[in-house]
Symmetry: C2
């Protein structure tokens, strides 16, 4: 069998096969203008389409329509954990019901404007983006390219965009406040070294610093790569450090470090109290069970409905739409 480039089937082919015009094909397949085409023709068109294996061309459609049905998110969101991926799943289902297709854009880029440009080229109906990647110039670019809905997931209102507030600084604040109330005085804050996490980490650290100032405790940022060896290195340095607690950035890093500290002979929480964030299920599997920061966000389905509403009503003023609540879940590691 030789591989031959398949002949592209277009709506014109379907029209020819069914003995009708392209207009009729479009009406039938999209079910617009109901009752305009007789049932017999409809059937003939559908048969022809099925027989020829016709698949509509999204690019042509959105070129004509002036907008696509794509909703774009950066894929880094998906990497955060199982919690987020369940939520994403929910979001995708909701969007699908409203006729949109959710795609996660794989691109990373150091420059927010370059990144925004590569999103804008796809002319999505909406983008939902961590606000830290949305500089004013990036927002301008997206709006200027005709992206109707720019939704920021951000610690603070992003000018020109709809914002769902995620106070990552609040996570750091809650963690440090809790540790301070437990009598801890010298608190390390994990700064993950993996790409894409530095922005969240910076926010969380800022909140930690703020709480530290209020409660008179000391904060030290400590870099940690998500590898056993690096955790072991950090744990070895613990003995001379005087740190009696650590905010682990999130549950994954917190658990990695917990294990390394234990292997180094330190007791958790006796010698070192540990707090994570994201409240993943693994936090409850560890020994000791990990204290964590949970965030109660709106469901994916709710967000999908919201996005649809914003797309339908282009006049809506930018502003804050919702604030995700942060909450400390106290367990045995602190």
């Amino acid at each position: 069998m030789t591989t031959m480039s398949a002949p592209r089937v277009t709506s014109a082919d379907v029209a020819r096969a069914a003995g009708v015009s392209r207009a009729t094909v479009s009406f039938v397949l999209n079910d617009t203008e109901p009752g305009r085409v007789s049932e017999t023709t409809r059937q003939r068109v559908r048969d022809a389409a099925a027989r020829l294996g016709y698949v509509s061309h999204a690019a042509a459609r959105s070129l004509r329509a002036g907008r696509s049905n794509l909703v774009l998110m950066p894929a880094t969101q998906a990497a955060i954990g199982r919690l987020v991926s369940d939520w994403l799943d929910d979001l995708q289902q909701g969007l699908h019901r409203h006729g949109y297709t959710l795609v996660l854009h794989g691109g990373h880029d150091s420059d927010p404007v370059d990144l925004a440009r590569s999103w804008a080229e796809l002319r999505p109906a909406a983008v939902a983006v961590p606000g830290m990647q949305l500089t004013p110039a990036a927002v301008d670019l997206l709006r200027n390219a005709g992206v109707g809905v720019v939704l920021a997931l951000s610690p603070e209102a992003v000018p020109g965009a709809y914002t769902v507030i995620f106070r990552h600084d609040e996570a750091g604040r809650l963690a440090v406040e809790h540790l301070a109330q437990r009598g801890r005085r010298r608190i390390a804050v994990v700064m993950p070294q993996e790409r894409g996490l530095d922005l969240y980490a910076g926010q969380r650290l800022a909140g930690a610093r703020q709480a530290a100032a209020t409660h008179g405790v000391q904060i030290t940022p400590v870099p940690l790569a998500y590898r056993l060896a690096d955790a072991a290195r950090l744990a070895r340095s613990w003995h001379d450090s005087g740190w009696d607690a650590v905010f682990g950035y999130n549950d994954d890093y917190a658990l990695l470090l917990t294990r390394a500290l234990q292997d180094e002979g330190l007791d958790v929480p006796g010698d070192v109290a540990v707090v994570g964030a994201d409240d993943l299920l693994v936090a409850q599997l560890a020994r000791p069970r990990l204290t964590s920061i949970a965030f109660d966000t709106s469901s994916g389905a709710e967000l999908a409905a919201l996005i649809d509403r914003l797309i339908q009503q282009p006049g809506t003023e930018p502003g804050v739409l919702h604030t995700a609540a942060m909450r400390l879940v106290e367990r045995d590691s602190s």
Copy 2:
């Protein structure tokens, strides 16, 4: 400030602003035909584009070009775990260097053909898909729609597609063989209840069954949802079951169940030996450290180069491209 629909800037606008034709704009911005346009005009065009905030329209380009620069993967791949998401990151970087954009398609669909259609509508340069979602009809549809490269990640060669072999059955076989050699005789196999995992789970179970037949041990599939309560329920039923080992589907489920078994007073590996799969870092954080099945796949960068080669050489015969090796990593849980 009122929200007004931004005036869409097209290449014609740029041409007008720069006082040149649309063709010249295209040549300059895409850097095709070097030396055709004088340096002064180039600069004028670039200035005008920047000043107007011009962003090219991917749909129009791919309509004209007959193909897009999108490479599509189902987002379910990304949800598998940190291992996979690092690999995806690597893949995306590689594809980006070759001029492609990786997007993860959020859609789920029970019908492989419907799913394939929604991919095909985007006319991607390539799709990379778990082979279990690629029925012959789905492959036909994709090829027929002009998708040049259909890459299956599958336990066996997929007719009409390029295949990278992932022997999920091999994971089950290795796990059960190992447990049998350790003297275990009644082995439970976790069947995760979360959507999208059943296909992998079925493959892993099939391999487990095969090894069980060879080694004369008994296999029992046990459903498990990724929740504490469900793991506790399963652990409670253990006492009367007679199972002396479990293959936990993957590391996440294995660790969830391990904790529940321990809470139920069972010793791992004394009473129950546990084997996971995927060899995530968390396997090494647990107590006891979890025995797991690692798969050594080609790097994301290598796969990106391969995809690029296949796109460039449309004549290449479909067939098996590579086989990911499966390997048991023995630790303390078995």
